[in-house]
């Protein structure tokens, strides 16, 4: 049984109300931080904890906080990114829905560390009811003196506002989010300047994921050393994984980053295996934009080691034979799934969500979608596969924001690992309409060459 830090109390009845949350030990971290720690000490604790951003990129949070420019007389802002729109990711919703006060508590502590007197939660427009839950929680916190002027007599003022987005995936990109929060069209900004220097309304801003901010609470409560003990290497603490797809028990799981991918999929504590006696074919371990992996590379790395549910292990082998932890949207595909159709669905999503600001992403995503649709419907050519590869190559890295990369990676990985399935679709257009390619060799053990002795 893994250790739970965030969702430990999630099933306590009434935990979403202030009374129950406080009774269960809530807001201790705010007391501790405001009464006994300086803002810099809080930042130092977060640095020592090794907490990495939970939104997808995995950037060390403490370091991000340390980058925040602190010019005299200019306000600083903390913005929480609750625009969780990555297909397959729903961990933040769970957290905000069940224990909203955990986020509020983490935000007050983080705002104290960063010197933000006005902090924002930018929440995805579709999460209407979650926004209402948060509003209620904020009202309760304010009524009990945790928000407003001079919190706990420390002289620190803080207030939190909830801002609802209008349903654009791109507004989860931090600079597009800031644009949207300012009331403009949600186009990503060109970096540099980074938000740490020029963010919301031109002021230094830190944008963090919901889960990252929530993780500040156990770090301050238990201490950074205690937090850093959990997990392996640079993957410290616990991570929420939203598991979905062809598994027996889809849902949000808190793992302590010491378990293997195999254990996560097949153990009854987590996903509970693949239903209906089917076999694992492929998996996207970190949300739709990270590379898809076939079963054999998912469970073992190219070196033959067991793949663990950690940032490093999932990324082992780079994009050639690895993937990414991403935002923790764990999508499992069994042998009845078609990778071509699946890739088409993702391409359609990214085409729809491209903001259209920079040309490679605007034009390239639509082009890839059309070609994939042709292959899927039996009108593809062999040259289309190479063309897809060339298009994704020209999008990746050449765009303003990571959406271009996010659109290119799934296509690249699907061709890299499942090229024969694409070719089968092209060569057997009739058959491909009636049945799927199946598991084929994708779960076969991979040959690991013996290391050459020097």
């Amino acid at each position: 049984m893994g250790r739970k830090l965030l969702l430990e109390k999630a099933n306590v009845p009434g935990i979403c109300t202030y009374e129950v949350y406080r009774r269960e030990g809530g807001y201790r971290s705010v007391e501790k931080a405001l009464k006994s720690l300086s803002p810099d000490q809080v930042t130092e604790e977060v640095k020592k904890s090794g907490l990495r951003g939970r939104g997808g990129a995995g950037f060390p949070t403490g370091m991000k906080w340390g980058f925040l420019a602190k010019p005299e007389g200019v306000p600083r802002y903390l913005v929480v990114n609750a625009d969780e729109s990555e297909p397959g990711t729903f961990k933040d919703r769970y957290l905000m829905e069940f224990i909203p006060h955990l986020l509020i508590e983490g935000m007050i502590t983080a705002s104290y560390a960063l010197g933000s007197n006005r902090s924002y939660i930018y929440i995805r427009g579709e999460y209407v009811w979650v926004a209402e839950i948060l509003e209620r929680a904020i009202d309760e916190a304010r009524a009990n003196g945790w928000l407003g002027k001079n919190i706990l007599g420390s002289g620190f003022d803080c207030d939190i506002y909830v801002h609802r987005g209008a349903g654009a995936y791109i507004c989860g990109e931090e600079t597009a989010l800031l644009e949207s929060l300012e009331g403009k069209r949600g186009n990503p900004r060109i970096k540099p300047p980074f938000p740490a220097v020029k963010g919301l309304w031109g002021c230094p801003t830190v944008v963090n994921n919901v889960e990252t901010i929530a993780a500040v609470v156990p770090i301050i409560n238990d201490g950074a050393e205690e937090y850093a003990k959990i997990g392996i290497g640079k993957s410290t603490g616990t991570k929420l994984i939203s598991a979905c797809g062809n598994i027996n028990k889809p849902g949000v799981y808190e793992i302590d980053m010491t378990i293997s991918v195999e254990e996560f999929i097949y153990s009854d504590e987590y996903c509970g295996g693949i239903p209906a006696g089917k076999k694992l074919k492929a998996c996207i371990p970190g949300g739709s934009s990270v590379p898809i992996l076939p079963a054999n590379l998912l469970l073992k790395t190219a070196k033959g080691e067991t793949r663990m549910m950690t940032y490093e292990s999932l990324a082992d082998g780079g994009f050639v034979s690895g993937s990414m932890m991403g935002s923790g949207g764990f999508i499992v595909l069994d042998d009845s799934q078609c990778v071509v159709r699946h890739t088409y669905t993702l391409a359609r999503f990214y085409r729809h969500e491209s903001c259209g600001q920079c040309s490679p992403c605007r034009e390239g995503t639509g082009w890839m979608e059309k070609i994939l649709w042709n292959i899927e419907t039996g009108k593809g050519k062999m040259s289309d596969i190479d063309l897809l590869w060339d298009i994704q190559r020209k999008i990746e890295g050449n765009t303003i924001c990571p959406l271009g990369d996010a659109a290119a990676w799934p296509v690249a990985a699907a061709i890299r690992h499942f090229r024969d399935e694409f070719e089968w679709h092209v060569l057997h257009p009739q058959e491909a309409q009636q049945r799927n390619y199946g598991l084929m060799h994708y779960a076969d053990p991979i040959h690991v060459p013996n290391p050459v002795m020097a």
């Binding site: 069209r185 085409r351 969500e353 259209g356 040309s359 605007r362 639509g366 082009w367 020209k394």
Partner: protein
Amino acid sequence: MSSDTKNTIPTVKVTIDNITIEVPAGTTILNAARQIGGDVTPPAMCYYSKLEGSGGKCRTCLVEVAAGSAADPRPMPKLVASCRTGVMDGMVVKNITSDKVKDARAGVVEFLLLNHPLDCPVCDQAGECHLQDLGYEHGKEGTRYEFERRTFEKEDIGPYIQLHMTRCILCYRCTYVADQLTDQRVHGVLDRGDHAEISTHISKAIDNNFSGNMIDVCPVGALTDKTFRFKNRVWFTKPVLAHRDCPDCCGKVTLWQRGDEVLRVTARKDEWGEVCSYDGKPGWICNTCRFDKKAASDWVIEGPVNVNRHSVISQGHYSALQTPKETLPEVMGGRAPKLMMDIHDVSEVNKIELSQLPGAATGSDFNSPAPKEA
């Protein structure tokens, strides 16, 4: 250097394609490259130095930074948009010397042309279109796109401007004009992705005295001057510099004439296709100058525009036309050239005096018996 004062901006050295140049700190890579000029300058479709916040979108100006600065000589991991990246001292930039850049740029050009209608033969922008130039210089001869291109309905935005969204490459320049030049913005981008469109919100007219500058900043034929539409091809018109005393704007314009008729009035543009600056202020012109003053008598003509000889407009040979020197008499030693018939005055076959024949010689002249010599 003792002449340095506190007011001077410190200069930094940047190397672009092995050419080192000293520029004031804060200059972007693109502007530094423009100071070098020539092929070293990356093409720019969306960046417009006179519009704040423009650039970074089209990605044609991507360059490779091989060394970030003298202090931190690590290369930048990705290609960067040169129009929005400032130079650092000791920065080493690769533009046309980088295969990565050339490859990425070819990709960007292909992407930009993907949904472009390529209706140049009926487009008013042809001849002064930046996308045409870009495609000519960096594009491939064919496209790999096999699908229907995106189209939009033509839209009139106000009495003077027509928006032909099908041709648009979404450079956002015109929205910056609307933002920064005009006091009431009714012009922006609707929708997103490949169906994003420039529009006035729900077909409003743009009613502003400086709205015509959108036509000038548009790199393609998406925004065209309705007073000039289908009147002429630009390369048949002759651009002349002219000015008038205008209460609203600088009044310095280019007249595009055919004969004495003024077909079109635009702001003056520099070699990068941007509006010229006067005393540091961009020379935007007002709609009165642009659309209403269409008589040569409204203007004080200054003289012809120097058109880049690579431009198709320069083929008009409108200025100081010189007839080529006649060299044939010189070659022939002072003898005037004669017709072939005159090479021999008298036929050697039958001694017919060719010059005596009325008109051109025919077979019957030779077949008839030669006149008896007396």
